[in-house]
């Protein structure tokens, strides 16, 4: 993916998107499907300007991002902590692994009813579901990374006089970073799906609520707009995470 792109390559890349937009608009313009049910891209733009002005969308987006920021940082933070600790102290692992492995197959969305029972319809129920989306992939991958470190690395470091905490911080943690990073990325995409689902089912604010509300009002163009905004947000944040974690910090891991 690092090669240079010629003008022709770039043109081809854009042509696909252009083609989709043109076909989509043509269907709406020529009325092949009722435009009230299948609005074209121009209708979506119009809806974005008139029906849900940018300030409204921004405020919904802020609500959603605040929820995911809390849930994700708590989930990923605790996941790294428990994953690393259980990877370092094997006896701790035998105790915490079993309950984690038992709860792990439950998809985050399946927690929604219990989250409402436990936390009500407020912010904490959403944060909890997002938390679960992040926690399980991160804890599993952090543990996997810690236990998968080459024993020779430890022997070499011990020969060089590193022990205890310094061995953990200087050797074990850096060596398991690629796995942790993978867990963080998977966790982010699960958290994001959980966020949207939680907002669809039980919320009065946020991007998920915005599109669910638009359905009740029959504003299909707004639903489409919301889906695009949610998709773009997911794409952008995932890209940022990938840049931050994989390209810079972990460059040496992938150099060989």
């Amino acid at each position: 993916m690092t090669g240079r792109y010629s003008a022709r390559d770039i043109w081809i890349s854009w042509s696909g998107i252009l083609f989709v937009l043109v076909v989509w608009q043509a269907i709406a313009t020529f009325g092949l499907i009722n435009p009230a049910i299948f609005p074209g891209p121009l209708d979506v733009v119009r809806a974005a300007v008139t029906l849900v002005p940018p300030e409204r969308v921004l405020s919904h987006a802020r609500t959603s991002l605040t929820r995911i920021a809390w849930g994700f940082s708590l989930g990923a933070g605790l996941g790294v902590l428990i994953g690393v600790a259980s990877g370092w102290y094997r006896r701790l692992a035998t105790v915490v692994r079993a309950p984690i492995e038992l709860l792990r197959p439950i998809p985050p969305l399946a927690w929604i009813p219990m989250a409402i029972i436990w936390f009500g319809l407020g912010e904490s129920s959403k944060v909890f579901i997002i938390f679960l989306g992040a926690f399980f992939p991160v804890v599993t991958n952090a543990y996997k990374g810690m236990t998968g470190v080459d024993p020779d690395l430890f022997r070499a470091a011990q020969t060089l006089g590193l022990h205890g905490w310094r061995l953990l911080v200087r050797v074990a943690l850096p060596a398991s970073l690629p796995d942790i990073a993978t867990g963080v990325r998977v966790g982010w995409s699960l958290s994001f799906g959980a966020l949207v689902a939680a907002e669809l089912i039980a919320a009065d604010r946020g991007l998920g609520f915005m599109i669910m509300n638009a359905r009740e009002l029959g504003q299909i163009a707004v639903i489409m707009y919301g889906i695009i905004v949610i998709g773009a947000l997911n794409f952008l944040t995932d890209w940022l995470i990938r840049e931050a974690l994989f390209k810079r910090r972990l460059r040496w891991h992938f150099a060989s």
């Binding site: 890349s13 006896r91 915490v96 998709g231 794409f235 995932d238």
Partner: protein, 277 residues
């Protein structure tokens, strides 16, 4: 723990044997369940928020025999969920595999479709629920199509990557040995990309399982997702928890099945990492 013991345990196998580790794990779970039960009986945990394990056991029996809502047993829920997953999944495979084989083989098509596929994958499947409901109603069609949407992009990406990753040397060798384009495709490209395709199918099934629960929470009373949502509506936290247990078992069985299938069908393929998006 003293530093020296920690350090020495690094270069040695874990201190406890595998059997002891499993026993300790089982014991931990047993202790947690017992504590939960006792706390529930002593009134420390509210029966509504945390129905005790003994009540859950009774509810399992209830769900299997009587059903929740009454008349819909847990097997019917599992059946409904499985049927939706299978339909959506098969639809996705039927669409995405041939398409991916073509796109992966033609460079210009691959370049033109890459941004679309990347964006389509970023669109959270569950966010399409309101649109699907507006277009196709709250019936089965919406649910099956959403599963198909989620699965097809994952399968598509992996098929394209699989075709692209076929070793040039293999193709050249095949050509030199006089294979026709058709033979080249069926004898070289297809077998060489199969492990990757299968990896995509596996990830897609996991995704289908994640999505189905959410999709079932609206507009139906059948299916595991519907079961737990109905349970909440009627303040039956015990039924919701038992539903989650069945969802976990279902997911576990699903991944087991796929692992076995992979070993039988593709004994030569190791475990492949998921494709980067």
């Amino acid at each position: 723990m003293r530093t020296s013991t920690v350090a020495s345990s690094r270069s040695q196998p874990p201190g406890w044997s595998g059997r002891t580790e499993r026993a300790v794990g089982a014991l931990t779970v047993a202790v947690l369940l017992a504590a939960w039960e006792l706390a529930g009986r002593a009134g420390v945990l509210s029966a509504y928020h945390f129905p005790e394990p003994s009540r859950l056991a009774a509810t399992i029996w209830d769900l299997v025999v009587v059903g929740f809502p009454v008349g819909v047993t847990v097997w019917q829920h599992v059946g409904a969920t499985a049927a939706r997953i299978v339909q959506g999944y098969v639809l996705a495979a039927v669409l995405a595999i041939p398409l991916g084989l073509v796109v992966g083989g033609v460079r210009a098509l691959d370049q033109a479709s890459a941004p679309i596929i990347t964006f389509a994958r970023s669109v959270a499947t569950i966010s399409l629920l309101p649109l699907a409901v507006a277009w196709f109603g709250v019936g089965e069609l919406s649910r099956v199509l959403l599963i198909a949407y989620g699965c097809s992009w994952v399968i598509l990406t992996n098929v394209i990557e699989g075709v692209k990753s076929v070793d040039e040397e293999l193709i050249r060798a095949g050509r030199m040995l006089g294979s026709t384009p058709r033979q080249l495709f069926t004898r070289v490209v297809l077998p060489a990309s199969t492990p990757r395709i299968f990896a995509g199918m596996k990830v897609a099934l996991g995704l289908a399982f994640m999505v189905i629960v959410g999709v079932e929470m609206i507009g139906t009373i059948k299916g595991l997702g519907a079961l737990i949502m109905e349970a909440r509506t009627f303040y039956r936290s015990d039924a919701a928890m038992v539903g989650m247990v069945f969802i976990a078992l279902f997911g576990f069985a699903l991944s087991r099945l796929l692992d076995r299938l992979e070993r039988v069908l593709l004994p030569w393929s190791g475990s492949l990492e998921e494709v980067e998006r």
